[in-house]
Every structure is written in structure tokens, then in C-alpha cells.
């Protein structure tokens, strides 16, 4: 791999698989019944099971933070451990934090609205207000780990995670940081879930015994919402080699468009000089809803033909805007490349937004 390529050397996740360091072991997960708010009968989603953050990252204090902030802190702590990054020896002014999220700290934003609804505008809760800002998770990661480099929060619908990876790579390539903690995620709340219900976009499996949606299937009756967060440590291949850090994947290039007509060319551009035959794995964002999956399928067919191996991790993660990084990690975990290969992370939305990111995957026997 090119030593200048931004390389992923550490992984931490908080997902329906639990809080985990490194790759995610393959296991079946089912949507779980929602109990966090009153529902009219059974309602299900791919949910993160509650856990004590300090049990996962010792010493972590997370009281009164939004769940997205908590998960980002836990995932970042796990990724830093996984990368064996000794922060005491690092120049922390050169470590950036980049978060991609669709809706940010929506849980505490709702709490702040609730405090207004209950007490009036004059007596809203001053503790909650700043914690509802979208950049709170990235700020807390900087504060807790003492990271004084650029601190960015980006939002780009269903490709928010992909956007974070692209911006992180840009910071590394332009010399604005030596290392980036890349974060992406979203939480599921009542206002979100019920908006999906009102929009009629949910799978029947959310509210009954119907089978789970199958991405790219003809049925396409809707999706199951999900939630989670992921963090990766990204550094130049040169720095990773200096530290002798194993590399999970090396970012090659990424492109995004808001124009549906440019989606195929964006996917092709992400390959750079490689041919489509070199692509061993396409990590799709298909979620089981007809319009979305049809759009993505036509992009994949046109860009890579019918022979590309396609995986759709939302079958285990559910649908949420900031899922890109978790989809990448899940796919990395469950693919077993025995030779170096090229993978493409594809993010698509029915409104025409597409992002395509290419990664070189090392032979697993030489990787982390």
C-alpha cells in the first residue's frame, strides 16, 4: 500500500452487537422491542443495549451527556486502545476529531424541548442546552482524550459517516493533522421512530411477526430503523508503519454528489486507476425499502456489472444516517480477504445523494 494513504489502525464500536474493540465477530442479531417510550403495540428496531460506559472504558464519566456523546466517547476509547496509540507520546495538537452524524444529539434536544414544554421558555434547563449541540460528541472526545487538533462535525443525510471519512482523509493529506479519530453515528428516539411511522416507510417486521426485510429483494416493503456509533483511528500509512501498527484498511479515494445522474460516475471515480474487475467487495447501504434499494442496485449494476460481491450490513444494523463507518467495519469484519483486495463503500439516498469511497484491504493474515 502507498505509505501516504490514510490508514485505519484502530476500531471501536457501539452497536446492536454491543460495545466492542476491533473487528465485530459475526453473530445473528434481531431487532428488539422498544421499551424506552410508550408504543401502540409491539414496535421493534435494531437497538444498542444499555451498558455502563465506565465498565468498557475505565474512568469514563458520562453523566448527563447525550447517548451519542457517550457512545462516541466509548467507541473512541476502544479505537485508541485497539490502535495501541499512546496518547502520552503523541503530539495531541496534531490529532483531529471528525464526526459524521445525521441528527446529532437528538435525544437531549428533545429533552430540552421537553423542559420548555414543561417549564416554559424562561425556565429551560441550562445543563441540557449545550449538550444538545451536534458537535458535543466530538467536543467531548477532544476534552476527555486531550485532542487539540481540528474538531469537526459534519452532516450529510445517509452518507454522514462517509463524509466524515472523506474529511478525515483530507485533513491528513493536507497536513492539518497527523492522526484523526473518525466518528460516525446516530441514536434512535421516539420523534424519529414515529416520524418514520407517519411517513409509512417502516417494514412490517417493526410491528409484527413479519420476516425481516431483505435488501435488494422484490418485496421492498420498508426498513427497520437502527442506531449505533463507530470510531476508527486513521493515520498516514507512513506513520502506521513507523509505529508498526497493523492496518485494517487504507483509504484510497472518496467522492460524493447530490446529482442522481452523477451517481455512477462518482462510484467509478472512487476506483481511480483500478478497473471495476478489481473490486472484490461492494458495501451497500441497501435497507429493504424498494425505492432506495432499486436506486442503489442500478448504480452498482452500471458501475460494477453483475459480478461484484455485494454486502448490505443494514440487515444487522438497521437504518440510520450515520451508519457508514459501522457498515464499513461490519463488512471488514465479515469478509476474509486472503489476498490484498479493493473494497468500495457505497452510500445512497433516494434524494440523489451518493458517496463512494474506495479502500485497499490488506491480506487478513498480515492485518490486525
Amino acid at each position: 500500500m502507498n505509505p501516504d494513504q490514510p490508514s485505519i489502525t484502530g476500531i471501536g464500536t457501539v452497536s446492536p452487537f454491543g460495545p466492542l474493540r476491533g473487528l465485530i465477530a459475526r453473530k445473528e442479531v434481531e431487532p428488539r422491542p422498544i421499551t424506552a417510550w410508550p408504543t401502540e403495540g409491539l414496535r421493534r428496531a435494531f437497538l444498542v443495549e444499555p451498558f455502563r460506559p465506565a465498565d468498557v472504558v475505565p474512568g469514563l464519566k458520562t453523566r448527563r451527556l447525550d447517548r451519542l456523546s457517550v457512545w462516541c466517547l466509548v467507541a473512541a476509547g476502544l479505537a485508541i486502545q485497539d490502535a495501541k496509540l499512546d496518547l502520552e507520546k503523541e503530539n495531541r495538537s496534531r490529532i483531529a476529531v471528525v464526526l459524521g452524524t445525521g441528527l446529532g444529539c437528538i435525544e437531549l434536544t428533545e429533552s430540552f424541548f421537553q423542559s420548555i414544554a414543561t417549564n416554559g421558555y424562561a425556565k429551560s434547563d441550562p445543563i441540557i442546552f449545550p449538550e444538545g449541540l451536534s458537535n458535543a460528541p466530538a467536543s467531548h472526545v477532544a476534552r476527555v482524550f486531550g485532542l487539540r487538533g481540528p474538531n469537526l462535525t459534519l452532516s450529510h443525510k445517509g452518507v454522514s459517516g462517509e463524509g466524515a471519512v472523506m474529511q478525515a482523509a483530507s485533513l491528513l493529506r493536507t497536513g492539518q493533522a497527523d492522526t484523526v479519530i473518525v466518528l460516525a453515528g446516530d441514536t434512535l428516539t421516539r420523534t424519529m421512530y414515529e416520524w418514520f411511522e407517519a411517513a409509512g416507510v417502516l417494514s412490517p417486521a417493526c410491528s409484527g411477526p413479519a420476516p425481516l426485510p431483505v435488501p435488494f429483494s422484490q418485496a421492498g416493503e420498508g426498513f427497520v430503523p437502527g442506531e449505533g456509533a463507530a470510531a476508527v483511528v486513521m493515520e498516514s500509512g507512513h506513520k502506521a508503519a513507523q509505529r508498526r501498527a497493523p492496518v485494517y484498511a487504507a483509504f484510497r479515494s472518496g467522492h460524493a454528489t447530490s446529482n442522481p445522474k452523477a451517481a455512477v460516475s462518482v462510484a467509478s471515480k472512487a476506483l481511480g486507476t483500478s478497473s471495476r474487475a478489481d473490486v472484490r467487495l461492494v458495501i451497500a447501504s441497501a435497507n429493504g425499502s424498494r425505492a432506495h434499494d432499486d436506486t442503489e442496485q442500478s448504480i452498482i449494476r452500471e458501475a460494477f456489472g453483475d459480478k461484484a460481491r455485494v454486502v448490505a450490513p443494514k440487515t444487522s444494523l438497521g437504518e440510520f444516517d450515520g451508519s457508514g463507518l459501522l457498515r464499513l467495519i461490519t463488512a471488514l469484519s465479515w469478509s476474509e480477504p486472503d489476498t490484498r483486495s479493493l473494497a468500495l463503500l457505497l452510500g445512497t439516498s433516494t434524494t440523489g445523494i451518493t458517496a463512494a469511497l474506495s479502500f485497499d484491504l490488506p491480506c487478513r493474515s498480515t492485518a490486525a
Binding site: F113, A117, L133, S139, G146, R148, S155, H156, S160, I353
Partner: protein, 392 residues
């Protein structure tokens, strides 16, 4: 889009006239036990609607500013290949009634369904992309009150890297009961017109508006004979890693940001002719900011001229970094250093040349805009007037 009116000319004129836009809030009932002083936009031009796309007030500001930026930049053969990075903190909060939380489904079924579509931070960028038919990436940027400056820095990196031929970048935020209530709960609001950097400052006033810049490389601009208004010569972004709402008391993160931007721009502290500060008028921010200037400009031969134009149009949150970048460019293009209004008894320091009273007339080839925000983020932008060979 600013409380001075529509467009960059109205903005520049208001600044040159030292006109304060701070007045009692009229556009909604804030529900407080006093009427807050704010800077509001009272006349909003109409926009052609698009089916299925609900525009919030924040979105409208962003689209109107972007339309002016694109018009000023002129059409190029690849203009639509560009994208938009639009910063916001409020986005469509003003569209949502707090009662949503008691029973969301009922709220949606009673007409609130489309109100929440403008809630996400990406919506203003999405709106700009849709109204201007942009085919590149359209991302929302949310780094609290440093957002607008950060969006400009990120977009600059994208055009330099060749990821887009042109980017529209800036910030937009509308006044909203949600944010007025939030800053009131933090006891950060001055009920009277604010006094940044004054010993008797009591807090900030909120404002609203948007500024959007068309960014492209000098070479690209020259190729298509586009007017170059200013050159973004350097920038930096840092984080205090200190506290969620308070700045590092010694201003270390901000000082590092300023020195890093000067290093990138390849200029010495003496080359910076003016700093448009963050200057919120809160007790903690202004002291930390002065400490940052004392550190970053300690080698200067003369004190650094500094003002806070939040004294004109309030704190516009996610738009502040962009609007204040526009102030910096207006200052350079008009050879006028704008003052801090109502500053009579400034924080004592030998490092700063406080700009007070009327605009100071002097040539200004290079100037800096400084932003900071909740969560400890800092951003500095250094602008330069184009030289003779760059002006078309």
C-alpha cells in the same frame, strides 16, 4: 443576508455607517420575563418554492446568500459541478413546537409532519444545492459558533485538492425561541445592547443572518475571468480540549489556532493589519480571547487592531464565522477598520489596539477573522486583497 439588509453592499454600508442593528425582539414572543435585545432580519425576500421542499428561515437565508455569491462569481462552464458546505447550529429548530415531545405521532398527524424535515443540520446545504442545482457534495457543518469559519476552511481545502472546481461555503442561522431560551438559561444574554471587550460587559445579544462565499482557486478564477474579491491565504482549526461551554482561560487553543493560520499563510504577526474577533461580550470569552492575542501577537512591533462587530449585528451562531469573514473582506475592500460599538472602557492590555468610535480609514492588505465556539473549537481565517496581477 444580514440585519443590515439583503446583500453584501447593504452589509458593507451598514458597517461603514457604524449602524447598530440591535433592537428589542419583534419576530416572535421569546416567552421570557423581559424582551431580549437582538439583531433581526425584518424584510425577507421571496423565493420561488419547490414542491416537496420545505424551507426554514435558516434555509431561506442560506439560499438567498448563496444566490448572491453565485451571481457575483458568475457562471462558469463547470459551476454546477461544485458543492456547498453550509454551517448552522439552529437549522430548522424554529419550525418545531416543543409540544412535539409529548406525542410525536399526534404532532405529525396534526400537520407537523413536514415541519421537522428542516431540522437536520444538513438541510441548509441541501437547500442551497437544490436551488442552485449543484452536483457536488452538499454537507452541513456544525461546530457551534466556529461553524461558519470551519465551513470556509474545509471548502478551501476541497477546491485546492481538486475535489470540486468551486464550492459555496458559509453559514446560516435564524433567531429561534429554542436558542434564545438556551442562552437565557445559561445567563449569557445582555438585556441591553452588548459591549464586547468592555470591562462592564454583561453578555451577548443574539442575531441572525447568513454569508456564503464562492471559493475557487486563483487559477480557476482567472481562467474564467471571474472577479477575485479576496484571497483566503491561510487558515487553522484547533480545539481547547478544556470544557464544553467555557474557553481555556489562558486562550491557549485560540492562540495556537492564530499562530498556525499565520504559519500556513506564510505571514508574520506584523503583517496582519486587523483582527475581526469572536468578541461575544461574555465575561469568560473576551478575557480568554485577549490572552490569546497577547500570546499570538507578542512579537509584533505595535499592538494588534481588534474589534468585535457582534456589537453591530449580534451573535449569529453558526453564521457568525462566515458573516465576520465577510466583515473582514468588507474592511479590506473599503480600507476601513470597523470599531466595536459602545466600547468605552476596554479590558486592559498592551497587546491590543482597540478600535472604538468611527471606522478607522487605512489600507488593509491582510486581515484575520477569528471564531470560537462551545465545545472548545477555534478557527482562524487570513484574507488578503488580491494584488494587481490577480485583479481582473
Amino acid at each position: 443576508m444580514s440585519p443590515f439588509g439583503v446583500g453584501f453592499n447593504a452589509f458593507s454600508s451598514g458597517l461603514l455607517e457604524s449602524r447598530s442593528c440591535l433592537n428589542p425582539l419583534t419576530i416572535f414572543d421569546a416567552g421570557l420575563d423581559y424582551c431580549p435585545t437582538v439583531a433581526e432580519i425584518r424584510h425577507l425576500p421571496e423565493l420561488t418554492e419547490r414542491p416537496g421542499f420545505r424551507l426554514s428561515r435558516t434555509d431561506r437565508f442560506a439560499v438567498l446568500a448563496a444566490l448572491e455569491a453565485a451571481q457575483t462569481a458568475g457562471e462558469g462552464s463547470d459551476s454546477h459541478e461544485g458543492g456547498a458546505l453550509i454551517a448552522t447550529t439552529v437549522a430548522g429548530f424554529a419550525e418545531i413546537d416543543p409540544s412535539i415531545t409529548s406525542n410525536p405521532l399526534r404532532y405529525y398527524r396534526n400537520g407537523g409532519f413536514s415541519n421537522v424535515t428542516s431540522y437536520p443540520a444538513y438541510h441548509p446545504a441541501d437547500a442551497v444545492g437544490a436551488w442552485l442545482d449543484l452536483h457536488g457534495p452538499c454537507w452541513g457543518v456544525s461546530v457551534a459558533c466556529a461553524s461558519g469559519a470551519v465551513a470556509i476552511a474545509l471548502a478551501a481545502a476541497m477546491v485546492i485538492a481538486g475535489e470540486a472546481p468551486m464550492m459555496l461555503a458559509g453559514g446560516s442561522d435564524a433567531l429561534a425561541p429554542y436558542t434564545v431560551s438556551g442562552f437565557n438559561s445559561l445567563q449569557a444574554l445582555d438585556p441591553d445592547p452588548c459591549r464586547p471587550f468592555d470591562k462592564n460587559r454583561k453578555g451577548l445579544n443574539m442575531g441572525e443572518g447568513a454569508a456564503v462565499f464562492a471559493l475557487e482557486t486563483v487559477e480557476h478564477a482567472k481562467t474564467r475571468n471571474a472577479p477575485i474579491l479576496a484571497i483566503l491565504r491561510g487558515w487553522a482549526m484547533t480545539n481547547d480540549a478544556f470544557h464544553q461551554t467555557a474557553p481555556d482561560e489562558q486562550g491557549r487553543g485560540l492562540a495556537h489556532c492564530i499562530t498556525s493560520a499565520m504559519a500556513m499563510a506564510g505571514v508574520s504577526p506584523d503583517a496582519i493589519g486587523y483582527v475581526n474577533s469572536h468578541g461575544t461580550a461574555t465575561p469568560l470569552n473576551d478575557v480568554a480571547e485577549v490572552k490569546a492575542y497577547e500570546s499570538a501577537f507578542r512579537t509584533r512591533s505595535l499592538p494588534i487592531p481588534v474589534s468585535s462587530t457582534k456589537s453591530f449585528f449580534g451573535h449569529t451562531l453558526g453564521a457568525a464565522g462566515a458573516l465576520e469573514a465577510a466583515v473582514t473582506i468588507a474592511s479590506m475592500r473599503n480600507s476601513a477598520l470597523f470599531p466595536t460599538l459602545r466600547l468605552t472602557d476596554p479590558i486592559e492590555t498592551s497587546a491590543v489596539d482597540w478600535l472604538m468610535g468611527q471606522p478607522r480609514r487605512q489600507a488593509l492588505p491582510i486581515a484575520m477573522s477569528v471564531s470560537a465556539g462551545f465545545g472548545g473549537s477555534n478557527a482562524s481565517l487570513i484574507f488578503e486583497l488580491p494584488s494587481g496581477s490577480d485583479v481582473l
